[in-house]
Each structure stands twice: as structure tokens, then as C-alpha cells.
Symmetry: C2
Subunit: 115 residues, 2 copies
Amino acid sequence: MLPKALIAASLKPIMLSLLAERDMYGYEITQRVQTLSEGKIRWAASKLYPVLHDLENRGLVASFWQPSESGPARKYYRLTVKGQGALEKTKQDWLDLNQILVKLWGPDLSLAPSM
Amino acid sequence: MLPKALIAASLKPIMLSLLAERDMYGYEITQRVQTLSEGKIRWAASKLYPVLHDLENRGLVASFWQPSESGPARKYYRLTVKGQGALEKTKQDWLDLNQILVKLWGPDLSLAPSM
DNA sequence: GTGGCTATATCAAAGTCTGATATAGTCTAT
DNA sequence: ATAGACTATATCAGACTTTGATATAGCCAC
């Protein structure tokens, strides 16, 4: 597991990025982020839903219910145009911070995918 | 200014990195991080000192007073061997998170220094 | 009809953060 | 001599944020 502060900092960037790929429902998001991070990040429901509701209140995502073939109904979230803008802003903030860390750690900390 | 969550996440990594370069006193650290980040990060005294004291309590830094030629005495902080270990751990956490973001954003977000 | 999984949601208690404030030494200008 | 600006460390109460526990409920297998 990553430290709390890193998980908090990456919450919105990752959530917006996942929704940029496709519409997803809450529970699906928690599973996906766990797989994607190889268990390094886990989002409990009590962390996820307040953020989703906040994003919705701010117009960055829209939601709609959809029945499931196997289980309770699902509430899907879709990134709005405004949300796409917020994602770009978020990416830029992350790059700004990485530039600061590069000054301290050098460029060896490549963001290129590992082999 | 970077968002609060990113500033919080980078606080300890940056602080340990600065102290790895050389011994510094609190006020100097606040000035240095502001310059280094081109104003994107500002640490108020009320943010800085609780963290420094916590790092000291956990044995990651040691402190000693030194008179100043021009002003009040300064309390210098020095990274301990244990603190160097913590810095390495912190760097690795950051890289782990960057790897996750690379999966979402692609490798174009190079960490190489800008021209 | 119990247990496990899926699925959304809330809340109170715990934990964290930070603007305001206190203290104090040096320097410059008046 | 003293007011204002800057340097320097430090604390704290009130504000803010986080999260484990809990509630509700549908589906499936035994």
C-alpha cells in the first residue's frame, strides 16, 4: 500500500482518468484501481462515494442508473466536457510537481514504462 | 500554487531531499522550496515545524542550534542514516505511483527536464 | 435461510491542517 | 530611541477532512 498522502493526492487524477476511458460504476472503479495499481491503492466505499458526489455537484461527472443482469442496479458515472478540462488541469499539476522532483532527484526517475 | 493534496503528498519527500543535500534551518527551507518550485509550493511555518519535529521524534533528522551573524539563532536539521533510508523508501513510493499514472496517461509525460 | 458477493450510501468520532498569534534578535532610517 | 521590515522558531484553537462501522438491498449457491 502507498502512503496515505500519495493515495489522497492521486485520488482525483486517477478517478478522472478512469472515467475518461469509459463510463464506470462505483464498485467497478474500486476493483479497477486495485488491479491497475497491483494492490498498492485501495479505495473503500466511504472514500469513493463522497468524491464522486462532489465531482457530480461540481459538474465534472454526470450519473445515470442502469440495471445489472446479476445483482443490484448500478449507478454509472460519465466524464463531462468540464470534467475533461479538469483532468487536463490535474495532469498539468502533476507534471509541474514532477519537474520539481526532477530537480532534486535527477532525470533518472524516468516515467517511461518499466520492462 | 499546486493543489493542497499534491503539496501534502510532496511535503516529506521534498523535505528529506533538501536535507539530503545539506543541513538547513527551518526558515531557510521555506525560502528554498519556494524558489525551487518557482512559487508553486509555499510552506508556512505552521506547516513546516510540526513536520520537522515529527521527523526528529522518529529519528529521521537530528537538530542543533547555531548562532547567526545577522539575526536570531538558527536551528539546523541534519538527515540521519535512518532518514536516508526513509528518503529512499519515499522515492520508491513516488515511482510506484508514477508507474500507475503512466498506465493511464502513457509515457509521453516524460520526467526528463524541460528545455 | 445463511453466507458470500455485489452495490450504493451515510455518519460520528478521530485525525489533520493552518491562520493567527507570541516571542525575540538585527538592521535601517528618522 | 523607536518604528517598521525582516529573520527565526514555535504553539494552538477552531476549521476542516477522513474513514471504520453500519445500513440497506438484490442475487446466487448450498
